[in-house]
C-alpha cells in the first residue's frame, strides 16, 4: 500500500538553528507532494507544494526520487514556526480515490 511516513512525531530546535522535517513516500510514479501546516488554534493550510517549487516563510522542500523523500527545510527556525506539519500526497494524480497524509510532526522552536 502507498504510504507517506514522517518518522519524527516531535521535533524541538532552538531559535536560529536549522530545521529539517522528514517525509518519505512510497508512490512509485511521479508524485504530487504537499506540506500542510497547522498553527495553534488555526486551521490546516497549505505551506508549499512540490510542483510550485516556491519558498514559503523560508521553508523549502526538494523532491528526491532516489530516496523517495520530500523533506522540509528551513535554515533558521523562528518561534512562529512552532506548529504541526503534515506531508501529503494523492495516490494517483488523476484519481479521487484517496489522499494520504503522513502522521505529522510537531515542531517546537525553543526561544
Amino acid at each position: 500500500a502507498q504510504r507517506v511516513t514522517q518518522p519524527e512525531k516531535l521535533l524541538s530546535v532552538f531559535k536560529g538553528a536549522p530545521v529539517e522535517l522528514k517525509c518519505n513516500y512510497s508512490y512509485s510514479g511521479s508524485p504530487e507532494l504537499f506540506w500542510y501546516v497547522q498553527y495553534s488554534r488555526q486551521r490546516l493550510q497549505l505551506l508549499l507544494r512540490h510542483i510550485s517549487r516556491e519558498s514559503i516563510k523560508g521553508f523549502t522542500a526538494d523532491l528526491n526520487k532516489g530516496e523517495t523523500s520530500f523533506h522540509l527545510k528551513k535554515p533558521f527556525a523562528q518561534e512562529e514556526d512552532s506548529a504541526m506539519y503534515y506531508c501529503a500526497s494523492p495516490t494517483v494524480k488523476t484519481s479521487y480515490d484517496k489522499v494520504i497524509f503522513g502522521p505529522g510532526t510537531s515542531l517546537s522552536v525553543i526561544p
Binding site: 486551521r43 490546516l44 493550510q45 503534515y86 479521487y96 484517496k98 489522499v99 494520504i100 497524509f101 502522521p103
Partner: protein
C-alpha cells in the same frame, strides 16, 4: 468571504446517537472531503465528492455517510455513534481533484461517550 465553515465547533455525544456534521464552502469548489484527525495517525480520508451529486469512499468510511446535493454543502452523518469515532473532523475543498490545493475548515471536535 467565509471560505469553508463547519458546525458545530465541538460536540459531546452519547453512543448510539445520530449526528450530522455540517460543512459549507462559498468558493464554488467542485471537490469536497471529510477527514478525521487522530493523534499519531495524521489525517485519514473518510469520504469525498468530486462534484455535486457524486460521492465516494475514502480510507475509513465505515460508520459514516455523506451527501452532496449541491456544490456548497457536504454534510457528514454518523448514523449510530461509537466511542471510536471520537476525533477531530475536518472538511476540505479543492477546485478540482486531489492534485489541487485543499482548503480546510476549522474542524469539529467530537467526543462520543
Amino acid at each position: 468571504i467565509a471560505g469553508i465553515t463547519q458546525a458545530p465547533t465541538s460536540q459531546i455525544l452519547a453512543a448510539g446517537r445520530r449526528m450530522t456534521l455540517r460543512c459549507t464552502q462559498d468558493m464554488r469548489h467542485n471537490a469536497m472531503y471529510w477527514y478525521r484527525q487522530d493523534l499519531g495517525l495524521g489525517l485519514r480520508l473518510i469520504h469525498y465528492s468530486n462534484t455535486a451529486g457524486t460521492t465516494g469512499k475514502g480510507e475509513v468510511p465505515d460508520g459514516y455517510s455523506v451527501s452532496r446535493a449541491n456544490t456548497d454543502d457536504f454534510p457528514l452523518t454518523l448514523a449510530s455513534a461509537v466511542p471510536s469515532q471520537t476525533s477531530v473532523y475536518f472538511c476540505a475543498s479543492s477546485d478540482s481533484g486531489l492534485g489541487d490545493t485543499q482548503y480546510f475548515g476549522p474542524g469539529t471536535r467530537l467526543t462520543v461517550l
